[in-house]
C-alpha cells in the first residue's frame, strides 16, 4: 500500500467531519430525526402530506452550503470525471441501492455507526467493501 501524502488532508477532513457530526447532532436533538441524505430524498419519492417540508428544507440547506462555503474558504468546483453512461448507471445504483439497503454514508455510516447499530455496521462494511472492490476492478483490472 502506498499512501498519497501530497493529497492527504487530515486536518480539513477532521474539521469537516466534526461539522457533519454537529449536523447529525442538531437534527436528532432539535428535530428528533436521523440525518440521512438518501432517506431525506427517498422520503420525497413520492412526497407525503405533512412529511415533505423538513425534507425539502434539509435538502435546500445542503444545496445552499457550497455557496456559503465558497465565500468562507477557497474551493475549486468539483469535477465529476465519470463518463455519461457510468454517471447514469452509478446514479441509478446509488438511488436504488440506498433505498433497498435503507440508508447511505450518512444514515448508516455516520448515524448508525454512532448508535453502534449492528445493522448499520453491517451496511457500512458492505458498501465500503463494494466501493473498494469496484475501484480496484475499474482502475487496476480493466484500465
Amino acid at each position: 500500500m502506498t499512501i498519497d501524502w501530497t493529497h492527504f488532508t487530515p486536518g480539513s477532513a477532521l474539521a469537516g467531519g466534526l461539522l457533519i457530526g454537529l449536523a447529525a447532532a442538531w437534527l436528532i436533538l432539535v428535530e428528533g430525526r436521523i440525518l440521512g441524505a438518501s432517506g431525506a430524498l427517498g422520503g420525497l419519492v413520492p412526497p407525503r402530506a405533512g412529511d415533505w417540508e423538513w425534507r425539502v428544507a434539509l435538502l435546500a440547506g445542503l444545496i445552499a452550503a457550497p455557496l456559503l462555503a465558497r465565500a468562507l474558504v477557497h474551493m475549486a468546483p468539483p469535477v465529476i470525471e465519470a463518463d455519461t453512461a457510468t454517471l447514469i448507471a452509478g446514479g441509478l445504483m446509488v438511488g436504488f441501492g440506498t433505498r433497498l439497503g435503507a440508508g447511505c454514508t450518512s444514515g448508516h455510516g455516520v448515524c448508525g455507526v454512532a448508535r453502534l447499530s449492528p445493522r448499520s455496521l453491517a451496511a457500512t462494511a458492505t458498501f465500503m467493501v463494494a466501493g473498494f472492490l469496484t475501484v480496484f476492478v475499474v482502475r487496476h483490472l480493466l484500465a
Binding site: A65, G95, G101
Partner: protein, 149 residues
Amino acid sequence: MKRVSPFLAGLLFGIGLCISGMIYPSKVLAFLDLAGAWDPSLAFVMGGAVAVAFVAFRVAARRGASLAGRPIELPTAKAIDARLIGGSAIFGVGWGLVGLCPGPAIANLGFLDRRAALFVLCMIIGMGLYRALAALPAPAAYAEAPLDG
C-alpha cells in the same frame, strides 16, 4: 422553526462535506483506491462525524422528546438480511463507479453542475424504481422504513 431548523442542519452538513473534501469525487475515489496512491483523509471525516454523533445519540436516548417537542425517532429495524446487504452492495458499486454518495451528490447541485444534476436525477429514478418494486408484496417493515437514513 419547522423549516428553519432542518435547513440549518442541511447547511451544516453541506459545509462539512465541502470542507472535508467529501464533495470531490476524485478525493473519494482516491480514498477507495487501496491498491493505488491511497489518500486516507476520508477516514478522518467519518471518525470526526461519528465521534460527535456518538455523544449526541447518547444524549438523545435519555430524552423523551426533541427540543422542538417532537418524538425522538430512532430506527427500530434490526434485521441483517439480503435486502440490507444487497442494497448496500449495489450502492457501494455505484459509489465506487462515480465517487458520489447521496449527500455530496445533492450538495454538488449547489455548484450548478449539470453532471451532478444528471446523477441526482438518476438517483431519484432509482429510488422511484425501488418504490415501485416495494409496492409489490413485501415485508411491511421495509416498504415503510426509510428511517435508518
